[in-house]
């Protein structure tokens, strides 16, 4: 495919202000791209959530009793062990875990939290090859 070059391509040794303008445009392009992406993902998330809430009511009561109310007591020893293992794994054994308390702002239930931990663990494991 063929693109007309609207701007002269930068070449050789440009002057300072020419270069500054060029770099600013570059950063704006990056921010525009990632910003657009942010908006799209934000909208997508809300759409899917709205849809999920519409679809959920019929089935949401079912899982609720299975997971106890999300208080501090909800951190079972299993979850504790999982978190410890994950953190040791990621940060090395020289790190000590003093206590695990659920973030007070967190609405997610412990299963979701465990999922997060596990998800992160996978990420950290995977990225050794760049």
């Amino acid at each position: 495919m063929h693109f007309l070059l609207a701007t002269e391509p930068l070449n050789g040794h440009p002057e300072f202000f020419e270069n500054l303008g060029y770099q600013t445009v570059g950063i704006l392009v990056v921010i525009t791209s990632l910003g657009t992406l942010w908006l799209c993902v934000e909208i997508l998330g809300r759409l899917l959530n709205a849809y999920a809430h519409q679809a959920a009511p019929a089935q949401s009561p079912a899982p609720a009793p299975a997971s106890p109310p999300s208080t501090e007591s909800s951190i079972t020893p299993e979850i504790c062990a999982a978190i410890s293992a994950a953190i040791t794994n990621v940060l090395g054994s020289e790190v000590q875990i003093h206590s695990i308390t659920p973030s007070p702002k967190t609405q997610a239930n412990p299963f979701v939290q465990a999922w997060s931990v596990e998800g992160r663990r996978q990420i950290f494991h995977s990225h050794t090859l760049r």
Binding site: N11, L20, I31, E42, L44, G119, R130
Partner: protein, 446 residues
């Protein structure tokens, strides 16, 4: 016979040793030490360093082009032509000399052969790419002539990205998409370093390749410099991978200097669960949007998200495992050694290399600072504040930079777990760097 035996040593590599070689051996030893005993990105630095060792030995049959068409590398006039049709020549023989106002360029034979046709005579004018001589040889090219096609043809970096995509969970980014902006802001380090390099006298192609070190993304750095400044490829690759390993040393002072104790104590709300459909749509969105906005980044972004789609769709298990393992491992071996193979003494032992290594620190530093400052800037508008310590993770260097955020966060408050929050900007940085690389490719002439 004793004479023959002694004569043989004329055939050995000893007479071909140059002063650069032992110096490069020492550099190789340092790199291997860092990789093996200090854990500096060994998967890349071991092949690179071993390749560099081979490149700095008087080897035969390792990197030479195959005989066939010999073209003039520059425009000018043929001022010498040393072969006639039918003549045999040895490896290394001088075939022709082309001269132009900028100097004279000698064309040597890469292997033994016989001249089939001499297309030009002394006095003829030639252009870059004009055919000078066609020759015939039963010798193939060197092993790494063929393997390095993967870098010359820009095949290896996108294939590595296929595997990276298959290894990356974009969930944390999707759960809090505003962190995309942190990954974007970190590219300011790239732009600033580009400008600094230009001021130090590098051309724009070279400067772009040097700046991208600040993106902390090996494959992207190799991709860009193979395109815009292939002669700097080894220095840039070594700097990029070494600094990635040094992230835990480079980032913390900058992070602490730019944040208040109070900011470092900010706790972030737990990330929501992101479902399969959302991840699949995200992969397609990134592909479509980034290619539309920066078409020149297609092969990097396209392969990254292809690998990620394999990962998240749940029905292509065989393919995702292959991308995560066989493909990425095989390509890493070939990519690393090919990069090392370009690291000859004459190319590497130059002032430019020192400048590049210096500029690399600038790049990492400014990227880190921009990420942190962007987080503070966003906090001016946000109700749910972002802990600015995760801004530094926007340089990518996955997952090292996110670990640094976690460690620094816990230094302020041992109960603050920033790790998962830092993964968002961390993977956003990969996309951001690919985008700015695409911008440079589209607008910079080599």
């Amino acid at each position: 016979m004793l004479k023959d035996y002694l004569d043989f040593f004329q055939l050995t590599g000893f007479p071909s040793i140059t002063w650069q070689m032992p110096v490069m051996w020492a550099i190789v030893m340092v790199l291997l030490y860092l990789a093996v005993y200090k854990g500096f990105e060994p998967l890349l630095l071991v092949p690179i360093a071993f390749g560099a060792l081979l490149a700095n030995l008087p080897s035969v049959g390792l990197v030479n082009e195959p005989i066939g068409a010999m073209v003039s590398p520059v425009a000018g006039s043929v001022i010498e032509m040393h072969v006639k049709p039918g003549e045999f020549f040895e490896e290394g023989a001088l075939i022709a000399v082309v001269s132009n106002p900028e100097g004279r360029e000698e064309i040597h034979a890469h292997a033994r052969g016989q001249v089939s046709v001499a297309h030009k005579a002394v006095g003829d004018r030639v252009l870059a790419g004009s055919l000078l001589v066609t020759a015939y040889s039963s010798e193939p090219g060197g092993l790494f002539y063929y393997i390095s096609r993967g870098i010359e043809w820009e095949i290896f970096p996108p294939l590595i990205f296929l595997g990276v995509g298959a290894l990356t969970d974009f969930g944390p980014l999707i759960a809090r998409p505003i962190t995309l902006l942190l990954g974007g802001a970190a590219q300011i380090g790239v732009a600033v370093t580009f400008m600094a390099a230009t001021l130090l006298g590098f051309t724009v192609g070279e400067s772009a390749s040097i700046g991208i070190i600040g993106g902390a993304d090996g494959p992207t750095a190799i991709f860009l410099s193979a395109k815009l400044a292939p002669h700097l490829l080894p220095a840039i690759a070594v700097a990029a991978y070494s600094y990635m390993a040094l992230v835990p040393l480079i980032q913390p002072p900058i992070m602490r200097a730019l944040t208040s104790k109070q900011e470092r104590l900010i706790r972030m709300t737990s990330l929501r669960h992101v479902g399969k459909l959302e991840k699949l749509i995200f992969a397609l969105l990134v592909t479509i949007l980034c290619i539309l906005l920066v078409p020149a980044a297609t092969s990097l972004i396209g392969m990254l998200m292809l690998g990620n789609f394999f990962r998240e769709c749940g029905v292509t298990d065989r393919l995702v495992k292959t991308a995560q393992n066989e493909i990425i491992n095989i390509i890493t071996i070939f990519l690393g050694t090919s990069v090392g193979m370009t690291m000859t003494g004459t190319r590497f032992l130059r002032q430019e290399t020192l400048l590049i290594i210096g500029l690399g620190v600038v790049a990492f530093g400014v990227s880190t600072a921009s990420g942190v400052l962007m987080a503070k800037f966003l906090n001016l508008f946000l109700k749910k504040k972002i802990n600015p310590l995760i801004g530094s993770a926007g340089v990518s260097a996955v997952p090292m930079a996110a670990r640094v955020s976690q460690v620094e966060g816990q230094r302020a408050d041992p109960n603050n777990y920033l790790l998962m929050h830092a993964m968002g900007p961390n993977v956003a940085g990969v996309i951001g760097t690919a985008v700015i690389a695409g911008y440079y490719i589209a607008t910079v002439t080599r």
